[in-house]
Symmetry: D2
Subunit: 162 residues, 4 copies
């Protein structure tokens, strides 16, 4: 028995590229992808990006050390995506701070003939963890995570493909 694998992204020069297919669940009655669902695609891409970069969110969460939560998001909807479309979420780290990391994400639709922008977003993700009273608070990102993000950001700066 062979083992088909779920979608996985790749890094190219600091830019992470992650594939998504549009299913019925993603569309609404207007025939196109429901606007909130692009945020799900972008979160899948960020999770894959972290995994490939060696950051284990599930282990960190289960150890009580925190979970990434969005602090801010700006998104521009440029072209609609439709059922069966194959999209690529392109992500690059654009800023690294003590408790938060900014990531630019573009969702592209590309085929042999053209390459089109579907949506573009900038998200700020902050690490939050329960304090001694159980209240979720922003906490400093581990030093090695900041180092990883900074390295990805430096690599992505040299890449103008996105």
């Amino acid at each position: 028995m062979t083992h088909p694998q779920p979608a996985s992204g790749i890094f190219e020069g600091g830019v992470h590229r992650f594939p998504v297919r549009v299913y019925f669940e993603d569309t609404d009655l207007s025939g196109i992808v429901y606007h909130a669902n692009y945020l799900r695609y972008m979160e899948r891409a960020r999770s894959d990006m972290l995994m490939l970069a060696g950051i284990d969110q599930r282990r960190t969460f289960e150890a009580g050390e925190g979970v990434y939560a969005l602090a801010n998001l700006e998104i521009a909807y440029k072209r609609p995506a439709k059922l069966d479309d194959v999209l690529i979420v392109e992500s690059r780290v654009s800023r690294v701070r003590a408790a938060a990391t900014d990531i630019e994400q573009s969702i592209m639709r590309s085929d042999a003939e053209k390459r089109e922008l579907v949506t573009r977003a900038v998200v700020t993700a902050a690490l939050i963890a329960p304090d001694t009273n159980g209240v979720q608070r922003p906490v400093r990102q581990p030093a090695d995570w900041r180092k990883t993000f900074t390295s990805l950001m430096e690599q992505a700066k040299g890449d103008h493909a996105v």
Copy 2:
């Protein structure tokens, strides 16, 4: 047999207030509402706001006259919402153009003691309709819709409750 009614919002001085309860479906493993789901709450509030303002989206869509689609969204996540929380989505029209309307939306959690901001967003909604080739394109909003939105915006300016 009595007929319980689904949630409905109200207008107060041009500001639309719409209630939402948080269910299991809205949360993720971090124990709080998944970030994309606030966009669903805001869309429910906008749909209710349009309905109360006399704009029938279903009829307009079924008549082939278009559907609102988001062109742009900015959202700041301030405090997490949790299971069973009762939230109020407060919406006010902030700008009216030929093909698009801007709406400011704040999600508040309030009880007897305090009133807290959960998330705040500005969304730009554009009316789109299929052109003669079936491609979705922005179209002018009907004159009476623009008039309705402008009136709501004027009323909301005088209200500093949000």
Copy 3:
């Protein structure tokens, strides 16, 4: 400032009736409610039913005493629901066991002229809690919960409205 309230259900003779409105998020490109979303409506109704019956799921979960999880579900899709439809989820307890409770749920669409069945389901919900190794296991429902469910079941038997 008035406080609009989220939808709340009511009990009539042991039958719980909970209202839901269909929003864009619930539909798919075929123009009707996406099949998995009826399960969300039914879960909202069960959560409301438990709340009205005095069972506090959030407190129980936060106390580490468990959470309801579905063990089994059978659902028949009879008529499609559409954008803006107002639906009523009718729920009645049909069986109570040590660790699980069966609930029959029908989603109805009704207006002045007629009353139509949209979907009908039977769900088995089991209380699960982490054991000493952190593995989720079925646990006995508290005696007062079983008593509450049994009482609702007895009341519902005498009611043939559903």
Copy 4:
């Protein structure tokens, strides 16, 4: 620039196997996959299965020839799935009728050491299309689709791997 591809399933002796990874969006506060989301996984698998079998749902829908809708679903939840789990949806056609097809679907979690059943379902999917009044009605499946499904069912009968 390389092109990462979205997940795709494979047929082995009439059994379709499709991979899914669990993301934050799929979980709820109990830390496991929200029950309705397994239906989304199963629908993705059926869409992929149809695509691989040469049935183009998007073209059929856009041509006004119909769309598959669930008529019935039975699902047993056996073990919870968690964040980052890699799951395989195994699907096999179990019955073919004029207007509907039954598909058995099991979601498995497997690693080097063991192979566990997460959920098992039987779904009945019916082809529906708008009649001359625009009302959705069940219609006969095209003869070549029935032939394809029958062939898959015959092949799957000889395969006891699931």
